[in-house]
Every structure is written in C-alpha cells, then in structure tokens.
C-alpha cells in the first residue's frame, strides 16, 4: 500500500495561544498609549520601546512560528537584530562623539 511520508513541517499551535498573544498585543497597545500621556522625561522612550520590543517578540515567536522553528531560523532571526544594532551603535557613536577631539563636549 502506498504510504505518504507523514511529517508535519511545522507545529500546529492551538487557537487559544493565538488569542492569548492577540490579547497581550492589544493590552500592550493600550499600555503604551496610557504611558505616553504621562511626562516621564527620557523614561518615556524606555517604556515605549520596551513595550514595542515585547510586542514584536510575541509576534515573531508565536505568529511567525519561530518558537517552534529550527536552530538555523533562530540564527537568521537574531542576526537581523544583531546587524541592526551594529548600524545603530556605530552610527550613533560617530554622531555623539563628533567634536570631542576639539574639546567641545556637549
């Protein structure tokens, strides 16, 4: 009897998990709007970016199935944030350190 090789390429996540992630994303959106209405100085940025990164991580892990992905997928996903950080860090160390040699520290 011909038998098709059964190998589900990916894990099928329960619907409940998707609804939970969705709820967390909505709560995160509300939180970020409420937090932004208070003047916390530079801390506003910390809060909004922490919430945004958490939301993005939830989407990547569950909606984009990386949670059940191969090691190689993890490497590629992490590499994108690694290269992004290199770009941000190196560019800003340049911008922020301009003028230091002339002794014009801002």
């Amino acid at each position: 009897m011909a038998q098709i090789h059964v190998a589900t390429p990916h894990h099928v996540a329960p619907k409940g998990l998707y609804y939970a992630v969705f709820a967390a994303l909505i709560v995160g959106t509300l939180l970020t709007v409420v937090a932004a209405s208070f003047d916390m100085g530079a801390f506003n940025n910390v809060v909004m970016l922490t919430i945004a990164i958490t939301k993005a991580t939830l989407v990547v892990l569950y909606f984009m199935h990386v949670r059940w992905g191969s090691r190689l997928t993890w490497v590629i996903v992490c590499s994108s944030f690694f290269w992004l950080l290199i770009m941000f860090t190196f560019t800003m160390t340049d911008y922020m350190s301009r003028g230091w040699l002339q002794g014009t520290l801002r």
Binding site: L49, V60, F63, M92
Partner: protein, 249 residues
C-alpha cells in the same frame, strides 16, 4: 555510442543516470513511498522543502529589517539633534487614528495566523479563503485610514516642501519630522499594498485547493511577510505618534 565507456569501466558509478535504470536498480522505490505531488525532486521530503522556503523568506526579511532600519537610523539621528522639535511635531499627529490602525493591524495579524492555521490543519478552502479575505479587508481598512491622515496633512500644510507651514517653535525640525513621517509610513503603506497583492494570489491558490496539511508553504511565507509589516508598524506608532502625546493636552 553513449555507453561505450561502460565496457571499459564497469560498475554502478558509470551507469548513465536514466530514469529507467533507477527503476531497474531499485524496483518499487516509488510505489513504497509515494511522495506528495508538490514535493520538488531536489528535496528529500516535505519538511526539508518547507524549511528551505521558510529560511529563504527569513533571509529576505533580514534585508527588509535593514531596509526599514536605514529610515529608523535617520529618525534616531534627526530626533537626537532636536528632541523638543520632534515632540512638538509629533503632537500634531492624530493619536486616535494611529491607535485605531495599530489595533486594525494586530487583528489582521491574528486573522493571518488563523489563515495559516486553517491551511496547516487542512481546513476547507472556504475557511482558508475566509480568513485571508478578512485579513485583506483589515489591510485595506488600514490604508483607508492612512489616506484620511495623508489628506489631512495636505490640507493643513504639513507636507514638507514650499507649502509647509509651521506655527510652532521648531519649524525646521518639524519639517524633518514630517519628511521622516511620510518616508516611513509611505514605505510601510507600499508594503501593505504589495501585501494585499500577495494575499490575493494566495487566496486564489487556496480557493483552487492548492494547500493541505502537508503543503501550505506559500500561506506560511506570505504570513511571515504580513507579520513583518505589522511589526514595523508596532515600532512606527509609538515613535511617530506618541513622543509628543504628553505635551499640553
């Protein structure tokens, strides 16, 4: 004489790779393991094929991260040059529309995830297409709200250029902010338009019963793209709409 060599160098290595020969050497190999019609012959099995496609999509998404990353880089540089100016400019964006669009995109990500799940679990084409259409309707709603916002910016002279008018303290920074606003949300909206095109193709494929529990890679990969566009907006919303929200209510 194609087989002239075999006489001098006999052995399996020198057998010409003809299909009839393979069957002769390994009789019944196809009958024992009938493979999925969508399996390309250079892959061992469906799992490897799906993994290769997904990885390829992720590599593309890394380049997309860097593509948008350049604009985020510009945002960081100009905002750090004039933080107060950016806050003042951001205050004139409509937080309600921005928040509504954020929720619309999050719901569309949920329906996209459910569309992929429908294909994964071998649900009927009706169910798969249904979730895809809901996703597309939400994507179109997002673009509709964006159109309302853009129209508002044009009527209020907030589009960078000779018609730009700013009554606040930081007109130069405001113009830089709105340049970045249009570049970032414009590139994002372009991705949404392309996403709607991709979803149309995927919905037609789903309707024609292309997908089942073993082969749903196109839905999965299109879903990755859609979620990526959602993630970009997750960062754009607070960075553009909310940085001046706490100013004089």
């Amino acid at each position: 004489m194609p087989n002239g060599h075999s006489e001098h160098f006999p052995g399996p290595i020198h057998q010409p790779p003809l299909a009839s020969n393979v069957d002769a050497i390994q009789p019944g190999v196809h009958a024992e393991h009938a493979h999925h019609p969508k399996l390309q012959h250079h892959f061992d099995d469906m799992e490897q094929q799906a993994e290769a496609s997904t990885l390829g999509m992720w590599v593309f998404l890394v380049t997309e991260v860097m593509f948008f990353g350049g604009l985020f880089m510009a945002y960081i540089v100009y905002r750090s040059a004039s933080p107060e100016g950016f806050q003042e400019a951001s205050h004139h964006l409509n937080v309600i529309w921005g928040a509504v669009n954020t929720v619309v995109l999050i719901v569309s990500s949920l329906t996209m995830a459910l569309a992929v799940r429908a294909a994964q679990t071998g649900a009927s084409p009706k169910t798969q297409v249904g979730w895809l259409i809901v996703t597309m309707v939400l994507g179109a709603a997002f673009l509709g709200v964006k159109a309302i916002e853009y129209t508002d910016k044009f009527t209020h002279h907030l589009v960078p250029g000779p018609d730009f008018e700013w009554a606040g303290k930081y007109p130069a920074a405001a113009q830089q902010f709105y340049s970045l606003y249009f570049c970032m949300t414009g590139l994002h909206a372009l991705h949404m338009v392309i996403g709607l095109g991709i979803m149309t193709v995927i919905a037609i494929m789903a309707w024609k019963k292309h997908f089942d529990a073993e082969y749903y890679t196109p839905v999965e990969v299109a879903g990755l793209y859609w979620h990526f566009v959602d993630i970009v907006w997750i960062f754009l919303f607070p960075l553009l709409y909310l940085i001046g929200y706490h100013l004089h209510e």
